[in-house]
Symmetry: C2
Subunit: 175 residues, 2 copies
């Protein structure tokens, strides 16, 4: 059982835990199975997405591409088209919706989890709990429902947003 963060033996240079093959390779296979093609834009997108394990929305991804990839950019349409495909391929998934935008994250090579969403600072706090899955499986069984996935967002206030600014009693504003 591996708990490491470092790359393991696999077919590519970046192949963390739980990935039989690297994301890019996996995308290529998925595309091939549908008679679709790998392109340089798709490579760039997948590499950027999997270069870090972070939540992102379409705009953030575009920003990252513009910034990081030395100006080499991918059009907005292509981003959207590929986000859909990547989701279909099981490489990413929509986790929550924030400010009218879908937030994505890796769904490949990373253990399943859900999120606490702070309505104040917008932070996403990941958590994993097997009991929830077990409950869902049982409920689904009873109803003859075939589960394909789920999305659980817990709304509220995170630790730091719960209490007023108390750790900064220096410059008091006494109007």
């Amino acid at each position: 059982m591996t708990v490491a963060t470092a790359p393991e033996a696999a077919s590519d240079s970046l192949t963390p835990i739980g990935m039989a093959v690297a994301p890019l390779e996996r995308y290529r296979e998925f595309l091939a199975s549908k008679g679709q093609r790998m392109t340089s834009e798709r490579t760039i997108i997948v590499e950027e997405i999997f270069s870090t394990h972070e939540h992102f929305d379409a705009d953030e991804l575009i920003a990252r591409l513009t910034r990081v990839r030395g100006g080499r950019r991918v059009s907005r349409s292509t981003i959207y088209r590929n986000l859909s495909l990547l989701e279909e391929a099981g490489l990413i998934r929509k986790v929550v919706r924030k400010d009218d935008r879908e937030i994505f994250e890796h769904d490949y090579g990373y253990p399943k989890h859900d999120h606490l969403v702070c309505r104040q600072c917008g932070n996403l706090i990941e958590f994993h709990n097997e009991a929830i899955n077990e409950v869902l499986v049982e409920i689904a069984r009873q109803r003859g429902f075939r589960i394909e996935g789920h999305r659980l967002e817990v709304q509220g206030l995170c630790d730091s947003c719960c209490r007023p600014p108390q750790s900064r009693p220096k410059k008091l504003n006494l109007l």
Copy 2:
């Protein structure tokens, strides 16, 4: 412990389980607390929403109002403005997002629950499970997170959409 569906003793004619006061009254109080007013449009909206326990989106509500209320209609803007207010008041809540629309349901006078969403027929199947809440409360406690609510949608295929049309072997189409 009441399990009935019929109205109980309360301050209005339509006051099912768990409602200290009827929805309309409750909305009035909420509005008053914010220095806002009750209007005929707001009355119509609340009465229509609580006339049946059904999931709905903005368009469906507008349709229901147009149809049921003998042509007396409320403008789309007013509907949206009030859906937000009603949510803030805790009378309704967004449960899932389907076809790019927010689906609402009663959040007042009805036990908390979550949904199985069939991707095929779009049906929403309600279920209630206390264990999930317990898990969430415990996780939140550990992280110092103050829960205000949650949204859990389980995606998949419902019982009838799981299997192909097998119970209709009469008129076979043998092209």
